[in-house]
Amino acid sequence: MGHGGGGTLSAELVEHLFAPAFGSDVLAELGDSAHLTLGGARLAFSTDSFVVRPLFFPGGSIGDLAVNGTVNDLAMVGAVPAYLSCGFILEEGVELALVGRVAEALGEAARTAGVVIATGDTKVVDAGHGDGIFINTAGIGLIPDGIDIRPQRAAPGDVVLVSGPIGVHGVAIMSVREGLEFGVEIQSDTACLAGLVADMLAVCPDIHVLRDPTRGGLATSLNEIAAAGGVGVTLDERSLPVPDTVANACAFLGLDPLYVANEGKLVAFVPPDHADAVLAAMRAHPLGKEAVAIGHCVEEHAGMVVAATGLGGTRVVDMPLGEQLPRIC
């Protein structure tokens, strides 16, 4: 179970089992999207599978996630998303009306994102061998000339920006899946980030790194970037945008918002000369209006993320092992 949590165990599964078995140079870069060159065009290609429970939750559905998740992976290398494939794995007995609602949501999300669903597949598994509906999507998009966004480009001095409040999607899912009530309804932040990225690239084509911190949260993404770029990342803990509702829920459950999943947020590593302009462009976009700078890249503690605590101390922000587990008291 821990191997699906997006933390250290997930990374080890990919690096030590899948990558060697597949023997692919492209895959070896281990980005959210692969960079491909085909007939002279620079393409981004990505796939993702969605197994969320419940299928509909405050602020979205598995259909929205299946589009936004893959489109965002393409956007995180600066690509303009163009086409999606869509594979449904249905459990025998699932109501067709429910499948229809998911398909409607998926189609609507695709239209909002400006991508075309070009091909698809459907399989049915025996009752008890699935969880209602699983969806896989793959997407392809064009990377404009002059754009080179990869975690390996993170460099000392880069300013780390995040596009808005963190931990919202994970808490929204927990609130409905576990029947936990936190006083107010928390809506998932699932959204297509391609438009926000386009606005950011318009003011700074030289953005070094983009990442949407989904499973494993912001901490996991920052650790992955620090490791890939061979840089240290220093965070100012008090600048982290954690909504009260998320902070309260995390305090109640003993979780750290830095490790809670997001679906409509991005983190950007930007050269210091361009940080103010990119931040302004983000704040001018509806999905980035609460964007803030949360830290910067340093030469020290390469491969590690370190936070300055609100009281003036420091702490390591480690890669999570697997999923966070609510504590006993």
């Binding site: 609100g310 009281l311 702490r315 587990l325 504590r327």
Partner: protein, 372 residues
Amino acid sequence: MKYLDEFSDPVLAKRLFDDIRAVTTQPWSLMEVCGGQTHSIIRHGIDQLLPEEIQLIHGPGCPVCVTPLEIIDKALEIASRPDVIFCSFGDMLRVPGSGRDLFKVKSEGADVRVVYSPLDSLRIAQENPDRQVVFFGIGFETTAPPNAMTVYQAKKLGISNFSLLVSHVRVPPAIDAIMNSPDCRVEAFLAAGHVCTVMGTGEYPGLAEKHRVPIVVTGFEPLDILEGIRRAVRQLESGQHTLENAYPRAVQAGGSPAAQAMLADVFEVTDRSWRGIGMIPQSGWRLSPKYREYDAEYRFSVTGIDTEESTVCRSGEVLQGLIKPHECAAFGKECTPRNPLGATMVSSEGACAAYYLYRRLEAPNKEASSVG
């Protein structure tokens, strides 16, 4: 954020750090009893910012850490049975038994479920009348009342397919045992606020007097902890040894009479073994004879448990405050959260896990030499 932000305000924190610095004239060793306090101290870097004279010793107050290996092995054995649904809070799933943990048992096909309340497990029992549902009831005085309530409800509703695997422990006997140890270095205690919310403070004045040790009931936010430290140091510097309540917004002297009544009805005090420490007289609870049929150990009569602890793990010494995590040779090498040798590394509130998560930038030798 209301009720939390107020207690991590950096300006007020600086004032408290200054007060502590002003009152401190000599070295003192303070033990925070609760793992939640340890976690907060390390996470916020409080120990880095205190005067050098103040040493914080991390106590045994992580219920996951002190649950005996034998009970973990019994849990694994019961959870493996095909007719059982085994329910637990999440942080018990990674705790190593003699050879495996609940995650491993789950991956082998056992029906192990994470719940957020013991009452969830009672609902599962109602929904699965042909299965046996077992809840892993561990923890201090904080988690014992809801677990007692669950058993009470099961009996009241006539739910016969539910039982509790009990490993509850009590804090005051542990404080007494630590102070009775000839190696004890503790000069003052920060008592666990949530425990006192339930039980009140009545058990502590006697301990403070018997061992001539200040005890300050302390909360879990940064300012709570700093206020606890400030009061403890002030007592030490003036030669006092009394009980003080620095957590009045949550703790009243009498605690929660309703919770205490529930405990008294369902449980009875018993000797209890603590992982890494050993047997502490009168330090635990077990189900009273009236509720014996809900005792999973009795119902499943697990026998033949042969426990096997790591020979290099020093988590027992960590739990007693005799060493800090860095001083164990296995720390961060053979023993990591990925491959924990002891529960203090696997529990999110264990001192070893807190050091591994938050303190790896520091040179272990520097930390160790400053403690010894």
